[in-house]
């Protein structure tokens, strides 16, 4: 069993965000530069090393939806901004998530704008791991424009799951927009399939958002439930 998963399982919890990112990175899924810090001073050091702007995120096994408790601050451009954000997040969490065990804070490199997608895996009681793909924002939320595939996943399946959605035309490049890196997206879905096959303990994965660029992709936020 993967060490990260074994530890989380022993402690009966989901993977913390830095652990989820590490797991993704172990399977060569691109994640942003990030560091786990446990003090304001460490946060500043990490931010300067990463380069501004950065994002600060609370790390806690008790907080699943970080934004809801004011646990995320974005676009932090300076030492002062990082310090202020650190304090504010701590205060928010103390107030809105009383008693939550804090594992520290994550300093994450700012991700440039790209097309927002969602890639996920849930376990179907009859057919096992099922992968979901959709474009973020209104495509998923309002139009339910998502597509599914189950294991085993071929390259063709990984291509089809993307091409089947209406949002695909956005990735292909329409109205003067340049085409995005669909090949990298296909690669990511296949790597995710391998990750899921090799780690049957995982019940659910949510990569949201996954940013797609002209060249390359970035799994900005990931949730792994055991």
């Amino acid at each position: 069993m993967n060490e990260l998963i074994a530890r989380a399982k022993a402690e009966k919890r989901v993977l913390l965000e830095p652990e989820a990112m590490q797991l993704l990175a172990e399977y060569e899924l691109p994640v942003p530069t990030h560091s786990l810090v446990t003090s304001k001073e460490q946060a500043v050091v990490a931010a300067e090393k990463t380069g501004y702007p950065v994002v600060l995120k609370i790390v806690s096994k008790d907080i699943l939806h970080k934004s809801d408790v004011g646990g995320v601050k974005i676009g932090l451009n300076s030492k002062e901004a990082v310090e202020k954000a650190y304090e504010e997040i701590m205060e928010n969490v103390r107030e809105k998530a009383k008693g939550a065990v804090i594992g520290g804070m994550l300093v994450v490199a700012h991700a440039p704008q790209g097309i927002e997608c969602i890639v996920g895996m849930t376990k179907d009681p009859q057919f096992g791991p099922a992968f979901l793909f959709g474009l973020g924002g209104i495509f998923v939320e309002l139009l339910n424009d998502v597509s599914f595939r189950v294991l085993p996943l071929t390259k063709e399946d990984a291509e089809d799951i993307i091409k089947e959605t209406k949002g695909y035309s956005l990735l292909k490049g329409t109205r003067g927009q340049s085409p995005k890196d669909v090949e990298a997206l296909v690669g990511l879905i296949l790597k995710l399939a391998r990750l899921v096959e090799e780690n049957p303990e995982i019940e659910e994965i949510d990569i949201n958002p996954l940013l797609v660029y002209e060249k390359g992709i970035l799994a900005v936020d990931a949730r792994v439930i055991l």
């Binding site: 179907d124 009859q126 057919f127 597509s147 599914f148 595939r149 189950v150």
Partner: protein, 444 residues
Amino acid sequence: MSNSLVQVFNAQSVAVVGASSNSEKTGHTVLKNIVDGGFEGDIYPINPKADTILDLKCYQSLKDIPGAVDLVVIIVPAALVPQVMEEAGAKGAKGAVIISGGFRETGNEELEAEVVKITKQYQIRTIGPNCQGFNYTPNKLCASWPLIKGEGPVAIISQSGTVGATLEMWAESESIGISGFVSLGNKSDVSEIDLIEFFAADPNTKVVSLYIEGVKDGTAFKETVKKAGDTPIVILKPGRTKKGRKAAESHTKSIAGSDQIFDAVCKQLGIIRANDITELYDYSKSLGFLKKPRGRSMLVITSSGGSGIIATDVAEANGINVVDLNEELKKELVDVLPDHCVVANPLDLTGDATAERYKTTVEIAAKDDSIDFFLVIFGDPIPRAFDIVQELKQQTRKEIVVCYLGGGETEKEEVQKMHQHGIPAFPTPERAVKAVKALLNTKG
């Protein structure tokens, strides 16, 4: 294990436990259908109160039958079923069909578990309980209702007796026939998995059509479909909506599951999915009789302008290419066709079109490489339509899909002849086009 289904469907002797002289009872109907269906093996009605039913000697119980019994059809109150199954086991029966209801579907889990235990103990392959039996035309064995005798390439597996019977009746009335029909019932032993395996290997079956409300074992389902190889499978699985899913779950206690995920499974396995009974029938018909065109480029040849346009719309919406005609081909056609014909795609031969005019057109267009197959729409009473389609099918490798409508008595005669000769004809342009789409989406 499942190979023994071969012995069940090809049973040489059948006992009907609960056979009745009362023509209003299921125990009478089933026995009568086995007799009238022309079953050539031994038939044993079991009824302790009657001497003969339908001129057949009745027996007190299975024990009293002198010879072997391959198949036992059971139509007695649920509480008596375990005892009958014990006797069937002792008799060495290979299969049983339990038509009786009153088991898991009514909360009687224990009774069903008892029956399953006997099934396993004696290795009797059991269909049901709570089902409408089965019909296997190559063995002239209709242990079901209604009585359907016509042999054909389509095997129907249905979790609803009525949906299955409807498909059978359409197949019978159109003279396209069926290879088999199996009503799944509670699937206590034999499930869709065993039946897909059996019919995919059955030389009398070319397409397996299923109405199911849930899949019992997803992993086994995937593996069986993969092993079915080139035999096409069409599935109607309702429960696309939340309420539909709820209705399915209370009907047969199936786990309907996520429709989107089932859809994905179908796509990955090359299963053709039908949305309603009509589609299930039409897709089965086209997969059972037509060969897959090498590509998606279609030429529509019609005597009805309107039908040609409808076909074009449905084709374009379903990823079938209504190709523009080559200039060369156009010239050749203009030279031979009357001036009032519209030489384009759709190609309108107009209301005075004769069978000969269709034939000439297809013969010329068949030489054009940009066309993969033809949709031939007879939109008027056009005699000899069957003759020319049959001739053309022998002349060209390009598939000819027939739609016949608006043709009155002539249509009825011509379509019947086509069906009797294995040429499917569809009653509307949209149904014809969708049936080809299904064909194009098959694996292989």
